[in-house]
Symmetry: D2
Subunit: 380 residues, 4 copies
Amino acid sequence: MKKLNVGIVGYGFMGRAHYNAYRKVNNFFDLKHQPVLKAACARSADNAKAFADKWGYESVETDWRKLIARDDIDLIDICTPNNTHAEIAIAAAQAGKMILCEKPLALNAKEAEKMVAAVEKAKVPNMVWYNYRRCPAVVLAKQLIDEGKLGRIFHYRAKFLQDWTIDPDLPQGGAGLWRLDVKAAGSGVTGDLLAHCIDTAMWLNGTIDKVNAMTETFVKERKHNLTGKIEKVGIDDACAFLARFTNGSLATFESTRYARGHKALYTFEINGEHASIFWDLHDLHRLQYFDHRDEGRVRGWRNIHVSDGDQPYMKNWWVPGLQIGYEHSFVHQVADFLQGLANDQPAKPDFKDGLATDYVTDAVLQSAKNGQWEKVKKVK
Amino acid sequence: MKKLNVGIVGYGFMGRAHYNAYRKVNNFFDLKHQPVLKAACARSADNAKAFADKWGYESVETDWRKLIARDDIDLIDICTPNNTHAEIAIAAAQAGKMILCEKPLALNAKEAEKMVAAVEKAKVPNMVWYNYRRCPAVVLAKQLIDEGKLGRIFHYRAKFLQDWTIDPDLPQGGAGLWRLDVKAAGSGVTGDLLAHCIDTAMWLNGTIDKVNAMTETFVKERKHNLTGKIEKVGIDDACAFLARFTNGSLATFESTRYARGHKALYTFEINGEHASIFWDLHDLHRLQYFDHRDEGRVRGWRNIHVSDGDQPYMKNWWVPGLQIGYEHSFVHQVADFLQGLANDQPAKPDFKDGLATDYVTDAVLQSAKNGQWEKVKKVK
Amino acid sequence: MKKLNVGIVGYGFMGRAHYNAYRKVNNFFDLKHQPVLKAACARSADNAKAFADKWGYESVETDWRKLIARDDIDLIDICTPNNTHAEIAIAAAQAGKMILCEKPLALNAKEAEKMVAAVEKAKVPNMVWYNYRRCPAVVLAKQLIDEGKLGRIFHYRAKFLQDWTIDPDLPQGGAGLWRLDVKAAGSGVTGDLLAHCIDTAMWLNGTIDKVNAMTETFVKERKHNLTGKIEKVGIDDACAFLARFTNGSLATFESTRYARGHKALYTFEINGEHASIFWDLHDLHRLQYFDHRDEGRVRGWRNIHVSDGDQPYMKNWWVPGLQIGYEHSFVHQVADFLQGLANDQPAKPDFKDGLATDYVTDAVLQSAKNGQWEKVKKVK
Amino acid sequence: MKKLNVGIVGYGFMGRAHYNAYRKVNNFFDLKHQPVLKAACARSADNAKAFADKWGYESVETDWRKLIARDDIDLIDICTPNNTHAEIAIAAAQAGKMILCEKPLALNAKEAEKMVAAVEKAKVPNMVWYNYRRCPAVVLAKQLIDEGKLGRIFHYRAKFLQDWTIDPDLPQGGAGLWRLDVKAAGSGVTGDLLAHCIDTAMWLNGTIDKVNAMTETFVKERKHNLTGKIEKVGIDDACAFLARFTNGSLATFESTRYARGHKALYTFEINGEHASIFWDLHDLHRLQYFDHRDEGRVRGWRNIHVSDGDQPYMKNWWVPGLQIGYEHSFVHQVADFLQGLANDQPAKPDFKDGLATDYVTDAVLQSAKNGQWEKVKKVK
């Protein structure tokens, strides 16, 4: 088994999800590589140390440039705020490191284009952490679509609804809240949540041709945690858009952090000529499937408990009926990345796919500004 | 179209359900007979008059014996408390009337045997209002079982859960509350609710061989509305029993009026070798169906919205997707009764079927007393 | 009890729903008026006769002008295709008849304005059959919103999904299929299905300020049943739009007849500051309610079985736990209309409300053509 | 942080669940002890080696006696078939080791009594792996009951339904199939599945007073994998029983491996005077809760997504809305065990609790034989 030395930048919510995946992957998957938790990097030495201890990292760094400069690091994992992705990734590429970068790839497509150029030039393996592609139920959806079970696709609809920012006293900026600060995040729900919906959608249903969007910021000002002052909120609290896919299907997308009762309700539904599919992150171990070819009297939405050995990834886990959870999507993503390395068939989504999503979110934000349909740029 | 003159005894909740069915049936079903609301009978002339006006009955009676004696009445419908069924039905049979009797057929099997003897002697059409057999989803279940879709049956489980008698200040006896008075009702949940479960179960899965039961009366004394005194409660508040069907399948049955959160949750589930079925009165327009012969990856419980023209009774109603409700089960029962009359193929469940259910409830109550398995008597 | 003589034009699916409502309403509601089924009107005398017999209409007409001219008719009920509403309604108003008109009020707002002018000039009671306002669960939603339970509203989303026109061999035009013929229907899903969503939305959440829409016709040509020729399809098969309400909330609306697995899935969800509401026509007897003021540990969407006496309309029906269905919304609408007559407080939605919805659908169709946001005209 | 050296016997499905828990617990919980994967024991050296490599065990043993004899082992974890539990556990206790034993504690209560005596004499910390007590939703149920939210309990019902042994060609005995061999398992669904239901039930609702059961073996003979011969099946394929709790509530329990459509459907429902609770292993991250004290119009079953920081264990995992799965119940059990060690407040369920469950299962099997109510022995 080859060792693969991982250096990770960032230690927040996403950092923990990644650490856990690296630690677990070889216990459940037969692979040719084994990630080694080599170094954790955080600006504060104390934070870095605490996390390294908790997760068994061998060393710590407080400057990501030093981490990248180390010879004993094969792979840089970026789980810092969005506005730092480009700089770190480009430097890592130039140093010849493999790169796994949190989503969205960058603050905007312009930055993302440079990141793609950097990894292409350096020819380093690269991936973006759009982890929901790795939920077994979502992979099952992909299989069904690719096998033609749905036939011609007429409709796609996706939502990602949360309710955690309704309180106007919630501040913006700083640890845990940088997602509300437009300088760190680039946008609000569009880059944070709709980016997931768009990535899944294009994977399942192909490219998006054009979009027409609206956005809203319900709470106009919030105290900023870093400056301590009341500042204008620059992000979008909510965003909805109409879209037309290249394959002729129609779509609606919506995301908000103002939907009471929904913590992380990412859902998508696809309606095809013969069959339809529905998935819901709140019950991620299930897939809803309707097949019109079933006999008329007993046609109905099938509520599939995706926990059986013939369903994607599930033979690696427990026994039928016993569900996995959120964290397993990250384990699967690492497993697929390592498999790709071993087979020389790079796993997806790579930086180019990340850029494709950024093209869509850029077009969405542009359309929300000018009230017009916007064509989506295509990745070359 | 032949007129069929109906005289109805009783005007409570069930009376209204029956009236509505007679009024509606010819608007939605093509039949050779038309029920005519000829006479409503209640002990109080005022009540009888009020109901007759509301529902368009042509005349009123205050003595059921007079109603039965009338030449212009073809059919007697009995919707009075259980302790009056036998006397009225036997007299009606002797007078040569058709009889539709509310369930349970009688206070006990001994009475019910006499009623069967009376209708057999008089050769009059007869039926018991076990209306849940007429919910389209339940009929669909019956079709699937009869077609062999389930294969060998292993398990049957049924529940009927309510929560309306938890308050110990609720009195017993009198209008609307006679179901709590053992003299009027014969038993509590066993005759009222489990009788429904048992009737459906034997229709779907054949006869029951033996039972083993427990009952409980949680509130031991209640004020009696007729005497005004605190009296011992004689009914069973809750009853659960194990059963073995003649076909070798195992069953559990349970009913209570002490299950918070359930207003009228009648559910049944049947597990067969190849497929399973689940139904729930709270969503009576749906059937849950699992077919193991579906491809493994996309196997799941199908949530069937029973509202399409190829599903039982539904072509007579609205368009696909638009649900019917509780009252329609009664309309269907009248429609089937009239169809049976026209075709000379009497509709079920008849008094003999009602007796079969009474044999089971008698055995259940007996077993609850002696703590032993009780064989169920078979109808000859 | 005052008699109210009803003359009805049309005898299709909607005709049956209305007939049933008139027949039933006095059995379940205490009212000062009793509808009398006086005359049924259809172009074919045979059809008119058959329906009159089935439903107990006293007479038939084959020309709606003659029906309107009759002195013994108090109320004209219009359930013919959309392109006939205006002419019949205006003539009925001029003859001083009360008018109940099927939705949408007219082919377009221009026609609808004339209808409003006609009923205002004639001062005749008038109503539009947006029946979903009368589902008990929807009325409960209205109560909760009006009581301020939701607080400030952030989001509204509604869908109406069907799948009955996916087959390209389905013809357009003629009986049962006029909804596919743009000349008879005016539009496709926009006027047929979204009109319902819009009417409910404005009732619950106030007026809509502007919209941005897209439409699609998936099957471009179909055989026309009246001409026998393959003709271009003029209706919209699918329509989705973004909207902004006057109260500042954001909305998405979508309808299609190409969503496999959905027969008549009308759903809406409203997200407020404190609480959220969800409703689904496929289980119309339920309301989903989330209240953030519940204690954190046990907060969850409450699945409310709307069948109890303290819930809208339900004390008039059966007992708790026993559901009503689609047809009851029409009974409620007639009951409310008659109540309004008796109290001199006209029931809603009246023609003005119908016009308001037509202004929205006109703006939607216009936006779909020009790809721009369209302001919605307000009713004066 | 103190090291706690773990030696584990067995490497099957349960072994993996335990290994994973030991590896993960310190990453997510702040504890004073850290389990060290010291030695894995299996009869085959190759198997032991393979598993040790995969999971990072430092050494292997092929004889559990040697493992117990090692000085560097603090804790013996038993995940071998039921018929070996007693011997290993008693030896481990005599050697002064802490013991974590898979459920059921023993083949029968007689063996279990000896195990209890052994750990009591040796005064070693001990626990049984009834892991479902550690699902956050189940712990939430426990909190609600203990706080009196339900009031007096009327009903308890639990089921554990599977469908994996319907095929008569499935053999019995040997690796992965020892659960079908009565010699290795002691009983069928009673000890395997109902034991879980009983443990949870007594934890939530107190002791069981008496039971009345039936069992069935649907497939009478199966090929035995160890002998190669067709042998009589000695286990119960299905078992259902009535029970009365000491607190006066009534219960039904049922388990089977012949329920098509259910992989591991462990559900329980508790009905109290004021509130009810429902849980389902197939969606283990949810709890259904009905509170009658909610306002009447908006009363409904609350579907609680147990993923928020104020819900049991959840602040240690991800963010609200992101579910955990089956394996996390084991992590929680280890965390609680270690917490108990640190605080000198031993975690439950210990061997005495395991014995209490064995008393119930013994009574159930006895009742199924003699068809009578059986009193349940109480742990002293």
